[in-house]
Protein backbone atom coordinates (compact mmCIF):
# COMPACT_ATOMS: atom_id res chain seq x y z
CA UNK A 1 0.00 0.00 0.00
CA UNK A 2 1.72 3.17 -1.13
CA UNK A 3 1.45 6.20 1.13
CA UNK A 4 0.94 4.08 4.27
CA UNK A 5 1.64 5.85 7.56
CA UNK A 6 2.63 2.59 9.26
CA UNK A 7 4.41 -0.22 7.44
CA UNK A 8 5.47 -3.28 9.38
CA UNK A 9 7.41 -5.91 7.47
CA UNK A 10 8.31 -9.39 8.69
CA UNK A 11 8.32 -8.27 12.32
CA UNK A 12 9.26 -10.79 15.02
CA UNK A 13 9.69 -9.85 18.65
CA UNK A 14 9.25 -11.02 22.20
CA UNK A 15 10.82 -11.04 25.61
CA UNK A 16 14.45 -12.18 25.79
CA UNK A 17 14.84 -15.34 23.74
CA UNK A 18 11.08 -16.05 23.74
CA UNK A 19 9.44 -15.05 20.47
CA UNK A 20 5.86 -13.84 20.91
CA UNK A 21 5.21 -12.05 17.59
CA UNK A 22 6.22 -13.97 14.46
CA UNK A 23 6.84 -12.43 11.05
CA UNK A 24 3.95 -9.99 11.15
CA UNK A 25 3.46 -7.63 8.21
CA UNK A 26 0.78 -4.94 8.12
CA UNK A 27 0.13 -1.45 6.86
CA UNK A 28 -2.17 1.36 7.92
CA UNK A 29 -3.00 4.24 5.57
CA UNK A 30 -4.02 7.81 6.47
CA UNK A 31 -7.69 7.92 7.44
CA UNK A 32 -7.79 4.18 8.02
CA UNK A 33 -8.51 2.18 11.17
CA UNK A 34 -7.00 -1.29 11.36
CA UNK A 35 -8.07 -3.46 14.28
CA UNK A 36 -5.97 -6.31 15.62
CA UNK A 37 -8.08 -8.95 17.28
CA UNK A 38 -7.03 -11.99 19.24
CA UNK A 39 -7.41 -13.76 22.54
CA UNK A 40 -5.28 -12.89 25.56
CA UNK A 41 -1.64 -13.86 25.22
CA UNK A 42 -1.64 -13.97 21.41
CA UNK A 43 0.87 -11.14 21.06
CA UNK A 44 -1.36 -8.12 20.31
CA UNK A 45 0.05 -5.84 23.01
CA UNK A 46 3.57 -7.15 22.37
CA UNK A 47 3.19 -6.10 18.73
CA UNK A 48 2.08 -2.58 19.75
CA UNK A 49 4.92 -2.30 22.28
CA UNK A 50 7.38 -3.33 19.57
CA UNK A 51 5.98 -0.79 17.09
CA UNK A 52 6.30 1.82 19.85
CA UNK A 53 9.92 0.83 20.49
CA UNK A 54 9.63 -0.63 24.01
CA UNK A 55 10.74 -4.01 22.68
CA UNK A 56 13.57 -4.48 20.21
CA UNK A 57 12.48 -6.60 17.24
CA UNK A 58 14.21 -9.93 16.68
CA UNK A 59 13.67 -9.39 12.95
CA UNK A 60 11.80 -7.14 10.57
CA UNK A 61 11.28 -3.47 9.88
CA UNK A 62 8.97 -0.71 11.12
CA UNK A 63 8.46 2.41 9.00
CA UNK A 64 6.45 5.51 9.89
CA UNK A 65 5.75 7.28 6.62
CA UNK A 66 8.97 6.97 4.65
CA UNK A 67 11.16 6.80 7.78
CA UNK A 68 12.57 3.54 9.08
CA UNK A 69 12.18 3.84 12.87
CA UNK A 70 13.12 0.23 13.72
CA UNK A 71 16.24 1.16 15.68
CA UNK A 72 15.04 4.46 17.13
CA UNK A 73 14.41 4.96 20.84
CA UNK A 74 10.85 5.20 22.16
CA UNK A 75 10.80 8.97 22.68
CA UNK A 76 11.81 9.64 19.06
CA UNK A 77 8.68 7.88 17.76
CA UNK A 78 6.48 10.66 19.13
CA UNK A 79 8.53 13.10 17.06
CA UNK A 80 7.56 11.09 13.97
CA UNK A 81 3.90 11.63 14.81
CA UNK A 82 3.22 8.35 16.62
CA UNK A 83 0.95 8.46 19.62
CA UNK A 84 0.26 5.56 21.96
CA UNK A 85 -2.56 4.85 24.38
CA UNK A 86 -1.36 1.85 26.39
CA UNK A 87 -3.63 -0.55 28.21
CA UNK A 88 -2.20 -0.37 31.71
CA UNK A 89 -0.73 2.31 33.99
CA UNK A 90 -1.43 4.73 31.21
CA UNK A 91 -2.13 7.98 33.07
CA UNK A 92 -0.14 9.99 35.58
CA UNK A 93 -2.65 9.52 38.37
CA UNK A 94 -1.32 12.27 40.65
CA UNK A 95 -1.14 14.86 37.88
CA UNK A 96 -4.12 16.98 36.86
CA UNK A 97 -6.14 16.39 33.72
CA UNK A 98 -4.45 19.51 32.31
CA UNK A 99 -0.94 18.21 33.00
CA UNK A 100 -1.78 14.80 31.54
CA UNK A 101 -3.00 16.55 28.40
CA UNK A 102 0.05 18.86 28.34
CA UNK A 103 2.27 15.78 28.36
CA UNK A 104 0.64 14.73 25.10
CA UNK A 105 2.20 17.80 23.48
CA UNK A 106 5.83 18.65 22.91
CA UNK A 107 5.24 22.40 23.43
CA UNK A 108 2.89 24.20 25.81
CA UNK A 109 2.14 26.94 23.28
CA UNK A 110 0.03 24.46 21.27
CA UNK A 111 -2.14 23.66 24.29
CA UNK A 112 -5.11 25.96 23.71
CA UNK A 113 -5.50 24.87 20.11
CA UNK A 114 -5.22 21.19 21.06
CA UNK A 115 -7.68 21.72 23.90
CA UNK A 116 -10.21 22.82 21.28
CA UNK A 117 -10.00 19.34 19.76
CA UNK A 118 -10.39 17.74 23.20
CA UNK A 119 -13.41 19.94 23.96
CA UNK A 120 -15.07 18.76 20.77
CA UNK A 121 -14.40 15.08 21.50
CA UNK A 122 -14.91 14.97 25.27
CA UNK A 123 -16.43 18.24 26.52
CA UNK A 124 -16.36 17.19 30.21
CA UNK A 125 -12.54 17.04 30.20
CA UNK A 126 -12.20 20.71 29.32
CA UNK A 127 -14.36 21.53 32.37
CA UNK A 128 -12.26 19.45 34.77
CA UNK A 129 -8.73 20.41 33.86
CA UNK A 130 -7.61 20.93 37.45
CA UNK A 131 -8.88 17.57 38.72
CA UNK A 132 -6.27 14.88 39.46
CA UNK A 133 -6.49 12.19 36.77
CA UNK A 134 -6.58 9.46 39.42
CA UNK A 135 -9.91 10.75 40.74
CA UNK A 136 -11.71 10.32 37.38
CA UNK A 137 -13.92 7.26 36.91
CA UNK A 138 -12.62 4.32 34.86
CA UNK A 139 -14.48 5.41 31.75
CA UNK A 140 -13.39 9.03 32.15
CA UNK A 141 -9.79 7.92 32.48
CA UNK A 142 -10.04 5.99 29.21
CA UNK A 143 -11.46 9.08 27.52
CA UNK A 144 -8.61 11.18 28.90
CA UNK A 145 -6.19 8.57 27.60
CA UNK A 146 -7.61 8.81 24.08
CA UNK A 147 -7.80 12.61 24.32
CA UNK A 148 -4.12 12.76 25.26
CA UNK A 149 -3.22 10.44 22.38
CA UNK A 150 -4.99 12.81 19.98
CA UNK A 151 -3.52 16.03 21.48
CA UNK A 152 -0.58 16.25 19.09
CA UNK A 153 -2.69 15.70 15.99
CA UNK A 154 -0.63 12.54 15.40
CA UNK A 155 -0.18 10.80 12.08
CA UNK A 156 -0.49 7.37 13.69
CA UNK A 157 -2.40 6.43 16.84
CA UNK A 158 -1.82 3.10 18.59
CA UNK A 159 -4.63 2.19 20.98
CA UNK A 160 -4.45 -0.87 23.23
CA UNK A 161 -7.77 -2.39 24.44
CA UNK A 162 -9.39 0.90 25.31
CA UNK A 163 -12.89 -0.55 25.81
CA UNK A 164 -12.05 -3.14 28.44
CA UNK A 165 -14.55 -2.96 31.30
CA UNK A 166 -16.38 0.13 30.03
CA UNK A 167 -20.11 0.81 29.92
CA UNK A 168 -21.76 0.89 26.46
CA UNK A 169 -22.28 4.68 26.37
CA UNK A 170 -18.54 5.28 26.89
CA UNK A 171 -17.66 2.65 24.29
CA UNK A 172 -19.97 4.42 21.79
CA UNK A 173 -18.37 7.78 22.56
CA UNK A 174 -14.87 6.37 22.03
CA UNK A 175 -15.96 4.73 18.78
CA UNK A 176 -17.31 8.05 17.50
CA UNK A 177 -14.15 9.94 18.44
CA UNK A 178 -11.79 7.40 16.89
CA UNK A 179 -13.90 7.13 13.76
CA UNK A 180 -13.92 10.90 13.39
CA UNK A 181 -10.15 11.14 13.99
CA UNK A 182 -9.65 8.77 11.08
CA UNK A 183 -12.35 9.96 8.69
CA UNK A 184 -12.16 13.73 9.20
CA UNK A 185 -8.63 14.29 10.45
CA UNK A 186 -6.96 11.56 8.36
CA UNK A 187 -5.22 9.90 11.29
CA UNK A 188 -4.02 6.32 10.79
CA UNK A 189 -5.21 4.22 13.74
CA UNK A 190 -4.06 0.79 14.83
CA UNK A 191 -6.42 -0.57 17.42
CA UNK A 192 -5.94 -3.66 19.57
CA UNK A 193 -9.27 -5.06 20.73
CA UNK A 194 -11.12 -8.07 22.08
CA UNK A 195 -14.55 -6.47 21.77
CA UNK A 196 -15.64 -7.63 18.29
CA UNK A 197 -18.69 -5.35 17.91
CA UNK A 198 -16.67 -2.27 18.85
CA UNK A 199 -13.91 -3.35 16.46
CA UNK A 200 -16.31 -3.78 13.56
CA UNK A 201 -18.03 -0.46 14.27
CA UNK A 202 -14.77 1.51 14.26
CA UNK A 203 -12.37 -0.24 11.92
CA UNK A 204 -12.07 -0.37 8.15
CA UNK A 205 -9.98 -3.53 8.17
CA UNK A 206 -9.26 -6.30 10.66
CA UNK A 207 -6.44 -8.73 11.31
CA UNK A 208 -6.70 -11.68 13.68
CA UNK A 209 -3.57 -12.58 15.60
CA UNK A 210 -3.07 -16.11 16.85
CA UNK A 211 0.11 -17.31 18.56
CA UNK A 212 1.86 -14.20 17.30
CA UNK A 213 0.94 -14.70 13.64
CA UNK A 214 -1.74 -13.03 11.54
CA UNK A 215 -4.15 -15.80 10.57
CA UNK A 216 -6.97 -13.82 8.97
CA UNK A 217 -7.38 -10.37 7.46
CA UNK A 218 -10.14 -8.59 5.61
CA UNK A 219 -12.44 -5.62 5.34
CA UNK A 220 -14.88 -5.06 8.18
CA UNK A 221 -17.48 -4.35 5.49
CA UNK A 222 -17.28 -7.93 4.23
CA UNK A 223 -20.61 -9.59 5.04
CA UNK A 224 -18.83 -12.54 6.63
CA UNK A 225 -16.27 -10.47 8.61
CA UNK A 226 -17.88 -11.11 11.99
CA UNK A 227 -18.26 -14.83 11.29
CA UNK A 228 -14.62 -15.14 10.19
CA UNK A 229 -13.35 -13.26 13.25
CA UNK A 230 -15.49 -15.22 15.70
CA UNK A 231 -14.52 -18.53 14.19
CA UNK A 232 -10.85 -17.61 14.47
CA UNK A 233 -11.27 -16.46 18.06
CA UNK A 234 -13.10 -19.66 19.02
CA UNK A 235 -10.43 -22.07 17.78
Amino acid sequence: MSGAILSVEGLSSGYGAATVVREVSLQVAPGEVLVLLGKNGMGKSTLLRTIMGYLRPHAGRICVGATDVTGEPVHRRAAHGVSYAPQERALFQDLSVRDNLRLGLSKDRDFEQALGRVRRAFPFLAERLAQPAGTLSGGEQKMLLVARALMTAPRLVLVDEVTEGLQPSVVDRLATVLRRAAAEERRAILLVEQHVHFALSVADRYAVLKLGTIVATGSTRDPDAQAVIESQLRV
Binding site: M52, Y54, P73, V74, H75, R76, R77, A78, A79, Y84, P86, R89, A90, F92, Q93, D94, L95, D99, R102, L103, G104, S106, K107, D108, R148
Partner: protein
Protein backbone atom coordinates in the same frame (compact mmCIF):
# COMPACT_ATOMS: atom_id res chain seq x y z
CA UNK B 1 16.41 27.17 80.48
CA UNK B 2 15.66 30.87 80.24
CA UNK B 3 13.84 32.70 77.45
CA UNK B 4 17.02 33.84 75.71
CA UNK B 5 18.38 30.29 75.59
CA UNK B 6 15.07 29.00 74.21
CA UNK B 7 15.13 31.69 71.51
CA UNK B 8 18.71 30.82 70.56
CA UNK B 9 17.81 27.12 70.50
CA UNK B 10 14.83 27.87 68.26
CA UNK B 11 16.97 29.90 65.86
CA UNK B 12 19.58 27.14 65.85
CA UNK B 13 16.89 24.61 64.95
CA UNK B 14 15.59 26.76 62.08
CA UNK B 15 19.04 27.51 60.69
CA UNK B 16 20.25 23.91 61.07
CA UNK B 17 17.13 22.67 59.27
CA UNK B 18 17.83 25.19 56.50
CA UNK B 19 21.42 23.96 56.14
CA UNK B 20 20.38 20.29 56.09
CA UNK B 21 17.64 21.00 53.55
CA UNK B 22 20.08 22.82 51.26
CA UNK B 23 22.66 20.05 51.54
CA UNK B 24 20.14 17.24 50.88
CA UNK B 25 18.05 18.77 48.06
CA UNK B 26 20.48 17.82 45.28
CA UNK B 27 20.66 14.24 46.55
CA UNK B 28 16.85 14.07 46.80
CA UNK B 29 16.19 15.20 43.24
CA UNK B 30 18.74 12.74 41.82
CA UNK B 31 17.22 9.93 43.90
CA UNK B 32 13.69 10.92 42.83
CA UNK B 33 14.37 10.93 39.11
CA UNK B 34 17.10 8.32 38.74
CA UNK B 35 16.27 5.97 41.62
CA UNK B 36 19.94 5.87 42.59
CA UNK B 37 21.66 7.35 45.60
CA UNK B 38 24.56 9.46 44.43
CA UNK B 39 27.23 8.62 46.98
CA UNK B 40 29.56 11.09 45.27
CA UNK B 41 27.29 13.82 46.70
CA UNK B 42 29.68 14.34 49.62
CA UNK B 43 32.58 14.78 47.21
CA UNK B 44 30.60 17.37 45.23
CA UNK B 45 29.92 19.22 48.49
CA UNK B 46 33.68 19.21 49.16
CA UNK B 47 34.38 20.32 45.58
CA UNK B 48 32.02 23.27 46.05
CA UNK B 49 33.75 24.18 49.30
CA UNK B 50 37.13 24.23 47.55
CA UNK B 51 35.61 26.31 44.71
CA UNK B 52 34.62 28.82 47.39
CA UNK B 53 38.15 28.64 48.84
CA UNK B 54 39.75 29.23 45.42
CA UNK B 55 37.44 32.19 44.78
CA UNK B 56 38.44 33.63 48.16
CA UNK B 57 42.18 33.08 47.54
CA UNK B 58 41.91 34.73 44.13
CA UNK B 59 40.58 37.77 45.94
CA UNK B 60 37.14 37.51 44.35
CA UNK B 61 34.00 38.54 46.17
CA UNK B 62 32.89 35.79 48.58
CA UNK B 63 29.44 36.00 46.89
CA UNK B 64 31.04 35.01 43.59
CA UNK B 65 32.22 31.81 45.24
CA UNK B 66 28.60 30.59 45.37
CA UNK B 67 27.84 30.50 41.62
CA UNK B 68 31.36 29.22 40.97
CA UNK B 69 30.77 26.36 43.39
CA UNK B 70 27.45 25.58 41.70
CA UNK B 71 29.11 25.56 38.27
CA UNK B 72 32.00 23.39 39.48
CA UNK B 73 29.56 20.84 40.93
CA UNK B 74 27.29 20.93 37.87
CA UNK B 75 30.17 20.54 35.39
CA UNK B 76 31.67 17.66 37.37
CA UNK B 77 28.19 16.10 37.73
CA UNK B 78 27.56 16.38 33.96
CA UNK B 79 30.84 14.59 33.26
CA UNK B 80 30.13 11.90 35.83
CA UNK B 81 26.61 11.29 34.52
CA UNK B 82 27.87 10.98 30.96
CA UNK B 83 30.88 8.76 31.69
CA UNK B 84 30.05 6.79 34.85
CA UNK B 85 26.36 6.78 35.71
CA UNK B 86 24.70 6.56 32.27
CA UNK B 87 26.07 3.11 31.38
CA UNK B 88 24.78 1.85 34.76
CA UNK B 89 21.10 2.94 34.54
CA UNK B 90 19.87 -0.61 34.41
CA UNK B 91 22.09 -1.60 37.37
CA UNK B 92 21.25 0.71 40.30
CA UNK B 93 23.39 -1.22 42.80
CA UNK B 94 26.44 -0.92 40.54
CA UNK B 95 25.68 2.77 40.07
CA UNK B 96 25.69 3.24 43.85
CA UNK B 97 29.05 1.44 44.16
CA UNK B 98 30.47 3.44 41.24
CA UNK B 99 29.43 6.78 42.78
CA UNK B 100 30.85 5.69 46.13
CA UNK B 101 34.19 4.89 44.48
CA UNK B 102 34.05 8.10 42.52
CA UNK B 103 33.56 10.05 45.74
CA UNK B 104 36.79 8.54 47.07
CA UNK B 105 38.64 9.41 43.83
CA UNK B 106 37.42 13.02 43.86
CA UNK B 107 38.49 13.30 47.53
CA UNK B 108 41.97 11.99 46.70
CA UNK B 109 42.30 14.34 43.71
CA UNK B 110 41.35 17.27 45.93
CA UNK B 111 43.99 16.12 48.45
CA UNK B 112 46.61 16.02 45.66
CA UNK B 113 45.81 19.57 44.60
CA UNK B 114 45.05 21.27 47.93
CA UNK B 115 46.76 19.06 50.52
CA UNK B 116 45.27 17.45 53.62
CA UNK B 117 45.37 20.46 55.88
CA UNK B 118 42.26 22.16 57.15
CA UNK B 119 41.62 25.54 55.56
CA UNK B 120 39.19 28.35 56.26
CA UNK B 121 37.05 30.59 54.10
CA UNK B 122 35.82 33.94 55.32
CA UNK B 123 32.11 34.60 55.61
CA UNK B 124 30.49 36.95 53.09
CA UNK B 125 28.36 38.22 55.95
CA UNK B 126 29.97 38.69 59.33
CA UNK B 127 28.69 39.86 62.65
CA UNK B 128 25.38 39.46 64.42
CA UNK B 129 21.91 40.86 64.18
CA UNK B 130 19.44 41.53 66.95
CA UNK B 131 16.58 39.00 67.01
CA UNK B 132 14.04 39.80 69.75
CA UNK B 133 16.82 41.16 71.90
CA UNK B 134 19.27 38.32 71.25
CA UNK B 135 22.35 38.68 69.07
CA UNK B 136 22.43 36.01 66.39
CA UNK B 137 24.79 35.23 63.48
CA UNK B 138 23.75 37.08 60.33
CA UNK B 139 25.29 34.39 58.17
CA UNK B 140 23.27 31.59 59.79
CA UNK B 141 20.10 33.61 59.17
CA UNK B 142 21.20 34.17 55.57
CA UNK B 143 21.36 30.36 55.19
CA UNK B 144 17.61 30.25 55.90
CA UNK B 145 17.08 32.68 53.02
CA UNK B 146 19.39 30.54 50.85
CA UNK B 147 17.36 27.41 51.70
CA UNK B 148 14.13 29.21 50.84
CA UNK B 149 15.62 30.29 47.50
CA UNK B 150 16.85 26.75 46.76
CA UNK B 151 13.56 25.12 47.84
CA UNK B 152 11.39 27.76 46.17
CA UNK B 153 13.48 27.62 43.01
CA UNK B 154 13.14 23.86 42.85
CA UNK B 155 9.42 23.94 43.57
CA UNK B 156 9.02 26.49 40.77
CA UNK B 157 11.14 24.46 38.40
CA UNK B 158 9.17 21.28 39.08
CA UNK B 159 5.73 22.86 39.29
CA UNK B 160 5.73 25.66 36.75
CA UNK B 161 8.01 24.70 33.88
CA UNK B 162 7.85 22.25 31.02
CA UNK B 163 11.13 20.67 32.19
CA UNK B 164 9.59 20.22 35.64
CA UNK B 165 6.51 18.54 34.19
CA UNK B 166 8.72 16.19 32.17
CA UNK B 167 10.78 15.49 35.29
CA UNK B 168 7.69 14.70 37.37
CA UNK B 169 6.45 12.44 34.59
CA UNK B 170 9.77 10.56 34.56
CA UNK B 171 9.65 10.25 38.37
CA UNK B 172 6.12 8.81 38.27
CA UNK B 173 6.35 6.50 35.27
CA UNK B 174 9.41 6.62 33.05
CA UNK B 175 8.12 4.16 30.44
CA UNK B 176 4.95 6.14 29.95
CA UNK B 177 6.89 9.41 29.78
CA UNK B 178 9.13 8.01 27.05
CA UNK B 179 6.06 6.96 25.07
CA UNK B 180 4.90 10.59 25.15
CA UNK B 181 8.12 11.76 23.54
CA UNK B 182 10.02 12.73 26.68
CA UNK B 183 13.74 12.05 26.39
CA UNK B 184 14.23 10.48 29.81
CA UNK B 185 18.01 10.30 29.26
CA UNK B 186 18.16 14.08 28.85
CA UNK B 187 15.97 14.61 31.93
CA UNK B 188 18.34 12.39 33.93
CA UNK B 189 21.40 14.27 32.61
CA UNK B 190 19.93 17.65 33.56
CA UNK B 191 18.80 16.30 36.93
CA UNK B 192 22.18 14.83 37.81
CA UNK B 193 24.01 17.99 36.74
CA UNK B 194 21.60 20.20 38.67
CA UNK B 195 21.72 17.97 41.76
CA UNK B 196 25.54 17.96 41.68
CA UNK B 197 25.56 21.73 41.18
CA UNK B 198 23.36 22.11 44.25
CA UNK B 199 25.76 19.92 46.22
CA UNK B 200 28.59 22.26 45.17
CA UNK B 201 26.55 25.30 46.14
CA UNK B 202 25.74 23.73 49.51
CA UNK B 203 29.47 23.07 50.06
CA UNK B 204 30.31 26.73 49.48
CA UNK B 205 27.41 27.83 51.70
CA UNK B 206 28.49 25.75 54.70
CA UNK B 207 32.23 26.51 54.60
CA UNK B 208 32.04 29.81 56.51
CA UNK B 209 30.48 27.80 59.38
CA UNK B 210 33.12 25.10 59.46
CA UNK B 211 36.37 24.46 57.65
CA UNK B 212 37.49 22.99 54.36
CA UNK B 213 39.31 19.66 54.13
CA UNK B 214 39.17 16.80 51.62
CA UNK B 215 36.83 14.70 53.81
CA UNK B 216 34.47 17.44 54.95
CA UNK B 217 31.63 16.11 52.74
CA UNK B 218 31.39 12.69 54.40
CA UNK B 219 29.33 13.57 57.51
CA UNK B 220 27.09 15.80 55.39
CA UNK B 221 26.60 12.94 52.94
CA UNK B 222 25.52 10.59 55.75
CA UNK B 223 22.97 13.04 57.13
CA UNK B 224 21.70 13.95 53.65
CA UNK B 225 21.40 10.26 52.77
CA UNK B 226 19.29 9.49 55.85
CA UNK B 227 17.11 12.55 55.28
CA UNK B 228 16.47 11.48 51.68
CA UNK B 229 15.69 7.93 52.79
CA UNK B 230 12.89 9.22 55.03
CA UNK B 231 11.64 11.72 52.43
CA UNK B 232 11.23 9.64 49.25
CA UNK B 233 11.14 12.02 46.31
CA UNK B 234 9.17 14.76 48.06
CA UNK B 235 10.60 18.21 48.66
CA UNK B 236 7.92 18.87 51.29
CA UNK B 237 8.81 15.67 53.14
CA UNK B 238 12.49 16.67 53.03
CA UNK B 239 11.60 20.01 54.61
CA UNK B 240 9.64 18.25 57.38
CA UNK B 241 12.49 15.76 57.94
CA UNK B 242 15.08 18.56 58.06
CA UNK B 243 13.08 20.50 60.64
CA UNK B 244 12.21 17.52 62.86
CA UNK B 245 15.42 15.49 62.68
CA UNK B 246 17.65 18.57 62.43
CA UNK B 247 15.74 20.03 65.38
CA UNK B 248 16.33 16.86 67.39
CA UNK B 249 20.03 17.06 66.53
CA UNK B 250 20.26 20.63 67.83
CA UNK B 251 18.35 19.83 71.02
CA UNK B 252 20.46 16.75 71.82
CA UNK B 253 23.71 18.56 70.95
CA UNK B 254 22.75 21.47 73.21
CA UNK B 255 21.27 19.57 76.13
CA UNK B 256 23.27 16.34 76.13
CA UNK B 257 26.40 16.06 74.04
CA UNK B 258 27.53 17.20 70.57
CA UNK B 259 28.78 13.65 69.92
CA UNK B 260 25.32 12.22 70.56
CA UNK B 261 23.91 15.10 68.51
CA UNK B 262 26.06 14.05 65.57
CA UNK B 263 24.42 10.61 65.65
CA UNK B 264 20.88 11.87 66.09
CA UNK B 265 19.74 12.13 62.46
CA UNK B 266 21.13 8.74 61.47
CA UNK B 267 19.67 6.94 64.50
CA UNK B 268 16.24 8.64 64.39
CA UNK B 269 15.92 8.14 60.64
CA UNK B 270 16.76 4.43 61.01
CA UNK B 271 14.17 4.08 63.80
CA UNK B 272 11.58 5.98 61.77
CA UNK B 273 12.11 3.74 58.75
CA UNK B 274 11.70 0.69 61.02
CA UNK B 275 8.31 1.94 62.22
CA UNK B 276 7.14 3.64 59.02
CA UNK B 277 8.98 2.49 55.86
CA UNK B 278 7.81 5.51 53.84
CA UNK B 279 9.18 7.91 56.43
CA UNK B 280 7.81 11.41 55.99
CA UNK B 281 6.68 10.74 52.42
CA UNK B 282 2.95 10.31 51.82
Amino acid sequence: MNGAAVLTLGLDIVTTAAILFTVATGLLIIFGVMKIVNFAHGAFITLGAYAGLVASELGLSPWLGLPLAFLAGAACGALVERCVVRPLYGRPLDAILATWGLGIIIGELLTLVFGREVQFVGSPLSGTVDVLGEAYSVYRLFLVVAALIVGGGFAWLLGATRLGLATRAVIMNEDLARGLGINAGWVRFITFSLGSGLAGLAGALITPLSSVDPNMGVPWLLNAFMLVMVSGASLGALLAASVLLGGAQVVISSLASPILGGLTIVVLAALLLRVRPKGFAR
